[in-house]
């Protein structure tokens, strides 16, 4: 690798900004025209610019979970199909996790840009389509046991050929999705975004000339590689281990372990997953790109610096997995949950498990860290058409060295927004009783965890089918450096006429508390979704009494909790009894 001259950096900085701006423009267009709330409210997509070989040069930082797939989206097609078989005006689409995808809902589109008959670059995007068929509405089947149950699987195929739509492909896709009108709109949003990207990138290439662009694309990747290597070099060499587990895989009752050995060696890092469990029967497995994505995202959090994100950064990292394990699923294993439940676990193993040893000032305690995917669908009684929705919840972050965890936040590996209650109820036949922070559940600590959320929703229509793919039903987010653990995921149901909430194991006989599909609910049934609160950081007995008091006044904790968890005595007129607090705390230290 040749290190670029320092004074080139300014030019590269500007080019990088230009490319990221183009990706932003592509993203805005996609957001504003998409049909599924998961696109337009949830922003669950990425936009890409790739070099002539398909290597990632720039991306809009919307959903980092797609980082791994971004690195492989184009290179895979080029390898399998051969760039010599592309033609100007082609647009390729695919979603196969066994060909470099993350999971099947995420569709990748690639458009080659030709100048004088030669490919100079590609623009692309990756987006989560809300419904792609399969065994359960919402295409998130926790109990799928092979990929054929997870929806319509597309190898690289042409959606457009020489500028004309390939109608047969469109017909196959739209016939196999439950909500084809949505899919149709979302596909158009993706296409519109590609065309905008193509237009802008062509302008840029014209301005700078093809040879210059080719050279700069290479330099940008070298540049990113050099910077991440510099950052890694500054870390102490060493071998660090972390482990996390799934409660179960939705099929059996045993936990599944992920085991990571992180080796920092000079200016590179090895993430070695040797020793992780064999792949599960259920859908919690991850393809290799998801493991790569989680490792890179964890590292970027770990470094905590703004780095240009392109293919260069992956060259400083090696990810070791064994085929046939939960970290590198072998065909035909199911894997829709790897992206949403497994990847965040990897990130947390790095930013909490390992960073608490290596750099505790920057670490966080355990985060709520489940997407709590809640899928539902049914036939709209008014239109007689299928409706389906992919829903997720925020959770509590872990406490930090000087800060409490943030409450109600999306997972660290994603950056999606929630669906407002008023939009939710306008579109789907549910009634919310409650959408609130789950008070009293934060992991205590000198800095406490953030709070998860609690949502009670009642079925208004005649029948709705629901499915859940979540975790953390049995293992709480950990506290670190003396902090207490956070709280568990709860998925409960109260049948019409009953006044008792039950978990789905009791109510429906599901194997898992947090993974089941196609439970039919009827009018008046109420579902309760509770996401976990984060773990605490540091000894709760060291928490500033004024902060404990403030939490009592704001009803985040009770007076009883103030005493039990923090050793802080609150008087009947709601002040801190400092003397009694000192005594209570000294007894426990």
């Amino acid at each position: 690798m040749t290190k670029p001259e320092r004074h080139d950096n300014i030019g590269l900085t500007l080019l990088n900004q230009n490319l990221v701006n183009i990706c932003d423009e592509m993203a805005v267009s996609m957001m504003r025209t998409a049909y599924s709330p998961i696109f337009s409210e949830g922003l669950d997509f990425s936009t890409l610019i790739l070099d002539e070989h398909g290597n990632l040069v720039a991306t809009a930082g919307l959903n980092p979970a797609m980082l791994g797939a971004s690195l492989y989206a184009a290179t895979w097609i080029i390898q399998e199909v051969g760039a010599e078989n592309f033609e100007e005006g082609d647009i390729w689409i695919y979603n196969d996790p066994y060909r470099g995808g993350s999971h099947m809902p995420e569709h990748m589109m690639i458009l080659p840009i030709y100048i004088d008959g030669e490919i100079v670059a590609y623009v692309g995007n990756i987006a989560h389509m809300a419904e792609i068929g399969g065994m359960a509405a919402g295409s998130f089947s926790a109990t799928a046991t092979d990929i054929y149950q997870e929806g319509l699987r597309l190898p690289p195929v042409k959606l457009f050929e020489r500028g004309e739509p390939v109608k047969d492909i469109w017909r196959i896709v739209l016939t196999n999705h439950r909500t084809p009108a949505n899919s149709w709109g979302d596909l158009h949003a993706m296409l519109g975004s590609l065309y905008i990207g193509e237009r802008r990138l062509r302008q840029l290439i014209e301005e700078r000339g093809v040879p210059n662009i080719r050279k700069s694309f290479t330099q940008l990747q070298d540049f990113a590689e050099q910077h991440i290597r510099d950052e890694i070099q500054a870390l102490p060499d060493g071998v660090y281990c972390a482990e996390d587990r799934f409660d179960d895989d939705g099929i059996g009752n045993t936990p599944y372990y992920i085991r990571l050995t992180m080796i920092i060696d000079g200016d590179r890092v090895v993430f070695d997953f040797t020793g992780s469990d064999p792949q599960a029967a259920g859908a919690i497995n991850a393809p290799y790109v998801v493991t790569l994505s989680g490792s890179l995202n964890g590292l970027l959090y770990f470094l905590g610096r703004r780095l240009p994100v392109n293919a260069g950064i992956s060259r400083a990292v090696r990810v070791v997995t064994q085929s046939g394990t939960i970290c590198n699923v072998r065909h035909p294993g199911a894997c829709v949950g790897g992206q949403t439940e497994y990847q965040p676990k990897l990130i947390e193993m790095i930013v909490s498990g390992i960073l608490s040893k290596l750099g505790p000032d920057r670490a966080t305690a355990g985060t709520g860290n489940t997407s709590l995917n809640f899928l539902f669908g049914g036939i709209d009684p008014k239109t007689h058409e299928y409706f389906a929705h992919y829903h997720f919840e925020g959770h509590g972050w872990g406490g930090r060295k000087t800060l409490d965890g943030n409450s109600a936040q999306i997972m660290l590996h994603a950056n999606c927004r929630n669906t407002p209650v008023e939009i939710f109820e306008t579109r789907y036949p549910w009634l919310h009783h409650d959408y609130s922070l789950s008070q009293g559940t934060a992991g205590a600590g000198e800095h406490r965890g953030g709070l998860g959320v609690s949502r009670d929703i009642e079925v208004l229509g005649d029948v709705i089918t629901v499915s859940v793919l979540a975790d953390r039903g049995e293992r709480r987010p950990e506290g670190i450096l003396g902090g207490a653990p956070g709280s568990l995921t709860e998925v409960l149901v109260k049948r019409a006429g009953s006044d008792e909430f039950q978990d789905f194991r009791v109510a429906e006989g599901s194997k898992s508390l947090t993974k089941f599909v196609n439970v039919r609910l009827k009018k008046g049934d109420v579902v309760r979704l509770v996401s976990p609160s984060g773990g605490g950081y540091g000894d709760p007995l060291d928490r500033e009494p004024a902060l404990v008091l403030s939490d009592v006044i704001d009803r985040f904790i009770t007076k009883e909790q103030a005493l039990e968890e923090y050793g802080v005595v609150i008087t009947p007129d709601t002040t801190v009894d400092l003397a009694a607090t000192a005594t209570a705390r000294s007894k426990r230290k």
């Binding site: 805005v28 999606c416 929630n418 407002p420």
Partner: protein, 699 residues
């Protein structure tokens, strides 16, 4: 509005963080400019000080006085408003804490979610539930009202100076419960400020609506206090009835009517610049322009499309704290003269968003700042004259500027001048990026646009930004540093309203045109009540924001513009009896979608989401004549963009006459700003005395 011939002076004042600017112009263009230090502790002092320093006889010669103020803006940003009680639908008390669950940037484990403006301890859940179709599922009883009142009484016992915000689910469809609570509380607590979401922001998405309503309540006491101060002072001067305030929507409102919705003042101090940008675009027959108001800490970017200024339904106070009211469409980025240059990672240069502010300010201010800023870089390059900053009121220390920039140079392993040029290049690119996004976001190509640059720091960088993007021309209006104050005195009187009404356009029975006409009528009526104007002077405009059924974002389609009681100018009749309404709206929506995103889905059904209406009375345009004709021409060494030093003409703007033409490099000096014309650019002075910079040799 009565107008007497001898009352020919209009005065606009813009209160900024550091200076309070005054521009007075009479009907023949005679112009007075004043700048006084702001008095943040009591902002009205500086306003009256500035008024006292004009030679205008206020009692006899003043036609109108318009104030743009940042008082509400600052109360909001510095969190100095009233402690606010929030009433929500029971079960949804945490709406301000949950927000939208996303975050502004990746890979930052130390990020802190924006703190709510109403605390959980001051939040009360209220029974009663409206459904998504507007029907009432659960009633709000008298007993519930009493219980809420009792809870509020208990809170007021701890702090009597609170305010109340009420935001219930689906109140934009059915406001019964909010009105019940509002009426009950108004009776029981006559002095308590109350904001209802159905009045403040009757639009969907509960977090955004609640956030907006809380912000309104939060500002009520501050706004009241300030307006009382102002009203009293203006009364003493005998000009209260001739005084008005700038609103967030870029319009002015008589000061006696300003207190009704304080959130309308959030962008008061900012909209003058946007209005002036629009005015100058009209003077130069520029139908598409981007205005760039670059001051000390930030740059405000506005868009003019087809001769119209952009408006928006939403604005962010800080990341994650939205307000959804009709506002002038402005994008603010952290690029101003005091923006700090820093080395980001392993050698990448970054400029802003951190700012040295006014205090300590750039290193060259000599007030203890050590960070290199954009202003320091301009001093190093010789583009700013250290002895003539702000017309000589502040003298700059060139050595301190060099020292600060040298620090960056060492880290970059570059020489001083290349580093200063690099700082400018990065700042220019940041601003170009903002210009690019605001145009593209609206579906337009920036290469069809002019750039209108002002504020103290805008004219130094305008040519480079325009060049970077291939924009048509860079235009520098007269007295660039006082353009915001000038904007206030030409603003329209304006009332806007936006409501949510979801209706399918293919449903022939829908009530869209009726609702739209009703909304426009109501606003025109309020305008007449507020100003005493003739209906003939009041213009109405309406729009419908639509989307394809299934989409989640909407595109605004303008439907009507004209006098409600006379013939209309354009577009789509909103006469409820005219059957062409639905068809025309459908076609116009397809067209607007096609223009913005490159395609239309002709066979897809369309639905409305928002209806918008505006009532306005056009302001009177005047052209200021601030230039005396006297001044010097000198020369000095200036470093141009490729790093070479060139003996450059320095011209006092006072001597420039319409028709003059110069080739760059050139520096134009005036007290409030400095214009840099790079080599390869031509500068022409137009009839309105704007400087028009374009690439290449002039005609």
């Amino acid at each position: 509005m009565t107008k007497r011939d001898d009352r020919s002076w209009r005065i606009g004042i813009d209160t900024g963080g550091t200076f309070t600017d005054l521009v007075a112009v009479d009907s023949s263009g005679n112009t007075i400019l004043r700048k006084v230090s702001s008095t943040p502790a009591k902002p009205s002092l500086a306003v009256f000080e500035a008024l006292a320093r004009t030679e205008v006889n206020l009692d006899e010669e003043l036609e109108r006085f318009i104030l743009g103020t940042t008082i509400v803006t600052n109360a909001v940003i510095q969190r100095k408003g009233a402690e606010t009680i929030l009433l929500t639908t029971a079960g949804f008390e945490d709406v301000l804490y949950i927000q939208r669950i996303d975050r502004p940037k990746m890979y930052d484990l130390q990020w802190v979610k924006a703190a709510p403006y109403a605390l959980r301890r001051n939040t009360i859940g209220v029974p009663g539930r409206v459904l998504a179709d507007g029907s009432i599922r659960e009633d709000l009883t008298q007993a519930d009202l009493v219980a809420v009142g009792d809870s509020i009484e208990a809170l007021l016992a701890g702090n009597a100076d609170m305010a109340v915000a009420v935001a219930f689910l689906f109140s934009y469809l059915n406001d019964t419960h909010e009105r019940l609570v509002g009426d009950y509380l108004a009776q029981r607590f006559p002095d308590l400020p109350i904001s209802l979401s159905c009045d403040v922001a009757p639009v969907w998405r509960e977090y955004e609506r609640t956030s907006t309503t809380v912000m309104d309540a939060y500002c009520q006491r501050v706004a009241r206090g300030f307006l009382q101060e102002m009203t009293k002072g203006l009364e003493d001067l005998g000009i209260r009835e001739r005084s008005a305030l700038m609103k967030s929507n870029g319009g002015q409102v008589p000061i006696d009517h300003a207190a009704s919705r304080p959130i309308d003042m959030v962008l008061s101090g900012l909209s003058g610049g946007m209005i002036a940008g629009h005015f100058w675009s009209q003077q130069l027959n520029s139908s598409r322009a981007v205005s760039l108001d670059m001051g000390g800490t930030s740059a405000d970017v506005g868009v003019i499309i087809d001769g119209r200024l952009g408006f928006s339904g939403t604005h962010e106070i800080e990341w994650g704290i939205p307000i959804t009211i009709p506002v002038i469409d402005v994008t603010t980025i952290g690029a101003g003269g005091s923006s700090i240059a820093a080395i980001d990672y392993g050698g990448l240069l970054r400029v802003g968003p951190e700012s040295a502010g006014a205090d300590p300010g750039p290193a060259c201010y000599g007030k203890g700042g050590v960070n290199a800023t954009i202003t320091d870089a301009n001093v190093v390059l010789g583009r700013l004259d250290p002895s003539f900053f702000l017309g000589g009121e502040l003298s700059l220390d060139a050595d301190l500027a060099s020292k600060a920039v040298e620090g960056i140079a060492q880290e970059l392993d570059l020489d001083l001048v290349s580093t200063a040029n690099a700082i400018i290049a990065v700042a220019v690119d940041n601003m170009a990026g903002a210009v690019r996004l605001v145009t593209v976001d609206r579906g337009y190509d920036y290469r069809d646009f002019d750039l209108i640059a002002f504020g103290g720091a805008g004219p130094l960088h305008a040519a480079r930004i325009a060049d970077r993007l291939g924009m048509r021309r860079a235009i520098i209006p007269p007295s660039p540093g006082l353009v915001s104050a000038f904007g206030t005195l030409i603003a329209d009187e304006r009332i806007d309203q936006r409501i949510t009404l979801v209706r399918r356009l293919d449903d022939p029975s829908n009530d869209l045109p009726v609702a739209l006409a009703g909304l426009a009528n109501a606003l025109v009526k309020s305008m007449i009540e507020q100003t005493g104007a003739d209906q003939a002077d009041v213009l109405a405009e309406t729009s419908v924001s639509c989307r394809y059924v299934g989409q989640n974002y909407e595109q605004e389609v303008r439907t009507y513009s004209g006098h409600l009681d006379r013939s209309f100018e354009l577009a789509i009749s909103i006469d409820p009896n005219d059957p062409s309404f639905r068809v025309s709206l459908t076609e116009a929506f397809h067209e607007s979608h096609r223009r913005a995103y490159g395609y239309a889905l002709e066979d897809q059904p369309i639905e409305s989401v928002y209806l918008g209406a505006t009532a306005l009375i056009r302001g009177n345009p005047v052209r200021p004549q601030p230039y005396s004709g006297e001044g010097k021409r000198t020369k000095r060494q200036v470093c141009v963009d490729d790093g070479t030093w060139v003996e450059t003409d320095i011209i006092d703007r006072n001597v420039l006459k319409p028709g003059d033409q110069f080739a760059g490099p050139l520096i134009v000096m005036e007290p409030t700003s400095t214009t840099y014309v790079p080599p390869g650019f031509t500068m022409q002075v137009d009839d309105a005395r704007c400087l028009v910079l374009s690439k290449g040799v002039g005609e």
